[in-house]
């Protein structure tokens, strides 16, 4: 039960703080959220700065504790997050690093770290959401290529991505988990088309991806043919690990802002609101401690976080939605004005209990993998 950091970790933190203080004032203005090429350039520019300063690798090679410190400090300093590099840095990259051949690692990892290439994720399909293993996008072997036909959905950053980590069905016989393969799809290949989807917040954060007899070289397959499900699980466990560190820091900062605003506009006098804020502050403090515990576990067991991430995500996603509902209480009638801060975030937060595994799926994971209850519906 030790919450203190080693000298080496404190040194890492101090060096990062100094670098952020010098670097952040030199960043260009943030692009308009609807300007996709502008967002890509901004996010990749930030990643390049990290790379040049020796921090480009931090999501992969650094120890879990260093990663925690990195995410904590960058969020505190108001630095950009991974943005368009989310899939490259946190899904596809780690998967290739863990499962790829030396040639594949040499081809794809460095451009992600340098901010040269952007990846998107082609997992979900219109009929394969929570039940991902039922996916039907078909890949048929033709010489040294797969011919891929099908449709993907919820593909973030598809408009500006160079590559897509694509799950395809390579075998229609036998158990469905065993007939899936993981391919790196070049987004400029003939037969790929992208249709942006508008979210309820009005923005186009993700897209539908249509694949019409797209030829993908067999060399672009990571892992064995029909072994893509296992390869994918490696990726998903990354997503449920330390990926929310920055968000917890941001939520704790937001709580401070809400208290300040409520004291200014008089709503602080309402004990129900005060106690709600107090309850949320306790919850986010505990979520931070839970993160430290999960990171300690990951550090001790070799780096890949397990089902403990589901415990965290379940509470976090609901608490964050409640946080924005409480922000709306602080704002009163101004909660209906999308020009005011927090209100667009409130809309975006509605996805947190759905994205990266719905709360219902997370509860199944916790019940079956941690509590040992039988599988079933």
């Amino acid at each position: 039960m030790d919450l203190s950091y080693t000298d080496e970790e404190e040194e890492f933190r101090a060096g990062l703080r100094d670098w952020l203080a010098a670097e952040l004032p030199r960043l260009p203005d943030r692009p308009d959220p609807l300007d996709w090429p502008g967002r890509r350039a901004y996010d990749c520019g930030w990643q390049r700065r990290l790379y040049d300063a020796g921090y480009g690798h931090v999501h992969w090679d650094a120890s879990p504790t260093q990663r925690l410190i990195f995410l904590e400090e960058t969020e505190r300093a108001g630095a950009p997050y991974v943005g368009a590099n989310f899939v490259g840095l946190l899904h596809a990259g780690p998967t290739i690093a863990a499962e790829g051949t030396p040639a594949q690692r040499a081809r794809w990892l460095e451009p992600v770290l340098r901010g040269d290439e952007v990846w998107c994720q082609g997992f979900s399909e219109p009929d394969a959401g929570s039940d991902l293993a039922s996916l039907r996008t078909r890949a048929v072997r033709d010489g040294d290529a797969y011919v891929v036909t099908g449709q993907k959905i919820w593909t973030s950053h598809a408009e500006v991505a160079d590559w897509c980590e694509l799950l395809v069905r390579t075998d229609t016989e036998g158990p469905r988990h065993r007939g899936i393969s993981w391919l790196a799809l070049p987004m400029d290949a003939p037969g790929v088309s992208v249709r942006p989807l508008r979210t309820l917040a009005g923005s186009t954060e993700f897209a539908e991806l249509f694949l019409d007899e797209v030829r993908v070289p067999v060399d672009n397959r990571v892992g064995d043919e029909n072994d893509g499900w296992r390869v994918t699980m490696v990726t998903l466990s990354f997503e449920r690990g330390t990926a929310f560190v920055g968000e917890v820091v941001a939520c704790r900062r937001l709580l401070g802002e809400l208290a300040r605003a409520a004291r200014e506009n008089g709503r602080w006098d309402d004990p129900a609101l005060r106690r709600r804020l107090g309850g949320l502050a306790a919850a986010f403090q505990a979520l931070w401690r839970l993160t430290q515990r999960n990171v300690s576990e990951a550090q001790a067991t070799g780096g890949v976080p397990g089902a403990g991430g589901s415990v965290f995500k379940l509470h976090y996603s609901h608490a964050r939605q409640e946080l924005y509902d409480t922000a709306a209480e602080v704002l009163g009638p101004d909660a209906l004005d999308l020009g005011r801060e927090w209100n667009l975030d409130r809309l975006s937060s509605l996805s947190y209990t759905i994205a990266a595994g719905t709360s219902q799926i997370q509860r199944n994971i916790v019940a079956e993998r941690i509590l040992g209850l039988p599988k079933g519906r």
Partner: protein, 288 residues
């Protein structure tokens, strides 16, 4: 940073769990309930000899020389076992009240909320208990008095160790619900296979883990606001888990024979005794 239990801490937790299972297992618990809830002086003395009360006293004062992180582990086990008596008050009095550390004296105290547990069994009552009136306690294993005009704030250590006991109840309820859901069959299968039931169980684990992380961290930092937040989460985990555990047990959960009501009632007592939810939330909010 390594926010896991050390080997010594793991051993301590296991040792306390085994001690309590042997000395205050289910039969002893039910015997205590059926016997009208008196305090077992022999057990109290044994707890003293095991270092339960002197845990945090320095070794040169006859204590065990451990800290709050170890204390929360021990009190979580006490909460899990539903160990009766003014455990926290006597532990806090060790070193200040003669006999407390050794388990030869039973020490209780008037809580700021005007509640006084175990008055008649105690050798020493701390605080002003004038005008104390007995009440029909909801918890068969915690006799209570109401004390008029009490006030002030509970000590942070008292709040934290009470929260640790709540985590023990939250964890017991999770285990009991899961065990029952794995063996109770309806519609031709164990009910733990139904999502409606397994999602209740998953929620119980989430509450327990969150509260436990908060209690451990507050034990390490000793911070008063973090302690208040931990109490808030631990109260919620204990009470909500006891209710969900009762629900998973169905009709059996509503019987006197099932143990779950004992946990729910004790959880209510611990929640109300020191820093109840409203005060805890206010204390955390004030620091924002």
């Amino acid at each position: 940073m390594d926010f896991r239990l050390s080997r010594d801490q793991t051993d301590l937790r296991r040792g306390v769990r085994e001690l309590l299972a042997g000395r205050f297992g289910r039969e002893a618990l039910r015997a205590a309930v059926d016997g009208g809830g008196g305090l077992d002086r022999g057990l109290w003395k044994e707890l003293g000899e095991a270092g339960f009360f002197a845990l945090r006293l320095p070794e040169d004062e006859g204590g065990v020389g451990l800290g709050l992180p170890e204390a929360v582990l021990v009190f979580e086990e006490a909460g899990r076992a539903l160990l009766p008596g003014p455990l926290v008050a006597t532990h806090v009095a060790a070193g200040a009240v003669p006999g407390a550390a050794e388990g030869t004296a039973v020490v209780t105290e008037v809580s700021p909320e005007g509640l006084l547990p175990w008055r008649d069994a105690a050798d020493v009552v701390r605080g002003d208990a004038a005008g104390a009136v007995p009440v029909r306690s909801v918890d068969p294993l915690t006799p209570l008095h109401r004390v008029p005009g009490a006030g002030g704030a509970a000590e942070s250590v008292t709040v934290l160790l009470t929260a640790a006991e709540q985590v023990g109840t939250a964890a017991w309820c999770t285990d009991a619900a899961v065990a029952y859901a794995r063996q109770r069959e309806q519609f031709g299968q164990v009910i733990g296979g139904f999502q409606a039931v397994k999602h209740l169980c998953a929620g119980m684990l989430v509450r327990t883990e969150l509260a436990r992380a908060a209690v451990w961290a507050a034990a390490v930092t000793g911070d008063a606001v973090e302690t208040a937040g931990a109490k808030l989460l631990a109260d919620e985990a204990a009470v909500a888990n006891a209710r969900d555990c009762l629900q998973v047990h169905g009709g059996m959960g509503f019987t006197w024979e099932a143990d779950v009501h004992l946990h729910l009632k004790r959880a209510w007592v611990r929640a109300a005794l020191v820093l109840p939810a409203g005060r805890a939330a206010e204390e955390v909010a004030a620091a924002l």
